[in-house]
């Protein structure tokens, strides 16, 4: 069962990722990425990370990617245009990456210390997670919240078309 689920959703993941590369329209790429992310959420579930699975769906698929599609719609971004040398990247890039991937894969497959993943063990409950998060990692957590606050302010400042630009022009 675990094996089947893994295979199915790993296939979804890979298909989504490849589709992301092949699609020429950004919105299709975005949707492919949503597929990847939701499939990853299932894989997290298989790995016993329940909360992360939910967070993956809510944060990544539900917020970040919505933001992406939103921007694509707002800017009405069309299909990609071909430019000089863009094919060269594809021709050189793919084989190169495949070669590196092969190296990494060899390493991983030659390594014997890894165990196997089974569903019935190793489920991390939300309590376990939050206990560590709010005690020993409280400071990073707070710092991250400050980071997000700054990001919000930065995004607002960047995206507002406005007084800032005009006064700077003067």
């Amino acid at each position: 069962m675990h094996l089947i689920l893994f295979l199915v959703f790993a296939a979804f993941c890979l298909a989504g990722a490849v589709n992301l590369l092949l699609q020429s329209h950004p919105i299709s790429s975005a949707l492919s990425l949503v597929v990847v992310m939701t499939s990853l959420a299932v894989l997290y579930l298989l790995l016993g990370a329940e909360f992360l699975a939910a967070a993956q769906v809510i944060v990544y698929a539900g917020a970040i990617m919505v933001l992406f599609t939103f921007v694509v719609m707002l800017l009405n971004a069309g299909r990609e245009e071909r430019t000089l040398g863009s094919r060269a990247y594809a021709i050189v890039g793919f084989p190169a990456i495949v070669a590196i991937l092969a190296v990494i894969a060899t390493i991983i497959l030659h390594t014997h210390g890894f165990g196997a993943v089974a569903l019935r063990q190793g489920i991390t409950s939300t309590q376990d997670l939050s206990r560590v998060l709010f005690t020993s990692l409280l400071l990073p957590f707070e710092v991250t919240s400050v980071l997000i606050l700054i990001a919000i302010l930065g995004a607002v400042a960047l995206a507002r078309r406005g007084d800032g630009e005009r006064t700077a022009g003067n």
């Binding site: 939910a54 939103f70 719609m73 939300t126």
Partner: protein, 349 residues
């Protein structure tokens, strides 16, 4: 219990719940039409069947039989995907909702009245709801129509904004229950009937109010139905949709209403438990033991839907900037205050 049995039972539950859900959707539409009619001092649908009770079936047949128009300039894959996504998300989230007593179990000890008992049930519902945004966004964009696009942009922005308030309003309840499992949340409120409901006993009425507002906005219902404001945007994101595809959007809206009602019931109104607690003991009959909780659950969801329709028949629509202001400047800070207050109360109780 073998794998085969598990699959068969699950399929059965899914089939039954889906059919009931769709029926519920259909009759919610009827309920709305009748109620709004009464509010506006007219009869509402009354010709088909006794009291117009067969009207939903006729409506469904009409949708099926209409010509399926696909405008030429649409981006077809997404145009077709959007209503499916929308309806799918509306129906899937019901899977984690326990709608009957968990004391009654089927063979092998699994729950009859809940498709999937998940530790993070609440998060699953929230996650699926957030995926539902794509249906609306893609519908508007792929229609290649400016009304649709504006409607979908409004809708996406509105959904994202109010999702925050919605999620935060539920945190108080989660804090009280100490769990994200919907079943456990309900059991946590079962001790003394109405006095242990989160709405009353848990002092979560502020959270309930926030949830109510956010839920109205999340389902694009009046008074927050700006994405489909006819006077400004024709029909919003589904302007270019017709026949069954339109019906799917329609159904997904009402499906979402039911889901939201279920969540409100589970989180604030004690789920399937009786408001009288143990004052009226359950009868010994196993069938009654199974059915009475379902009765209470349906009653609560129904009253929630009634409230929905009532509000729709009463209140005018907000302006868009008012909507955003309300969500960000009032509901969200209030929700955060509620969390802080609940935390303090729990810590120093």
């Amino acid at each position: 219990m073998t794998l085969l049995q598990f699959f068969l039972w699950s399929l059965l539950k899914i089939a039954v719940v889906t059919v009931v859900m769709l029926m519920g959707v259909a009759y919610t539409v009827l309920l709305e039409r009748k109620l709004v009619g009464r509010i506006q001092n007219r009869w509402g649908p009354s010709r088909v069947g006794p009291f117009g009770l067969l009207q939903p079936l006729v409506d469904g047949a009409k949708s099926f039989l209409k010509e399926d128009i696909i405008p030429t300039a649409v981006y077809k894959p997404l145009y077709l995907l959007a209503p499916i996504l929308s309806l799918g998300c509306a129906l899937i989230s019901i899977a984690v909702v326990p709608f009957g007593s968990t004391n009654v179990t089927g063979p092998g000890g699994f729950h009859i009245f809940q498709i999937a008992d998940v530790n993070i049930g609440l998060l699953v519902i929230l996650g699926i709801t957030s995926i539902g945004v794509y249906g609306i966004a893609l519908a508007g964009w792929s229609s290649n129509n400016k009304y649709s696009l504006l409607g979908s942009l409004r809708s996406s922005a509105q959904l994202i904004s109010y999702e925050l308030a919605l999620g935060l309003s539920l945190v108080g309840v989660v804090l009280r229950a100490g769990s994200l499992n919907l079943r456990e949340i309900v059991e946590n409120q079962s001790a003394h009937g109405i006095f242990s409901w989160n709405l009353f006993g848990g002092f979560q009425f502020v959270a309930f109010f926030i949830y109510l507002m956010a839920a109205f906005a999340e389902t694009n219902r009046s008074p927050f139905d700006l994405p489909e404001a006819e006077s400004e945007l024709t029909a919003g994101y589904h302007t270019e949709y017709s026949s069954m595809k339109f019906a799917m959007f329609f159904m997904s809206e009402y499906g979402n209403m039911i889901t939201v009602g279920c969540v409100a019931t589970l989180m604030f109104l004690g789920g399937w438990t009786s408001p009288f607690g143990n004052l009226i003991p359950l009868p010994n009959n196993i069938v009654l033991q199974a059915l009475i909780p379902i009765f209470w659950f349906v009653l609560k969801v129904f009253s929630f839907l009634f409230l929905y329709v009532w509000v729709r028949g009463t209140l005018p629509r907000f302006r868009y900037d008012q909507l955003m202001n309300f969500g960000w400047r009032y509901l969200m800070p209030l929700a955060i205050l509620n969390i802080v207050g609940t935390s303090f109360w729990l810590a120093y109780r």
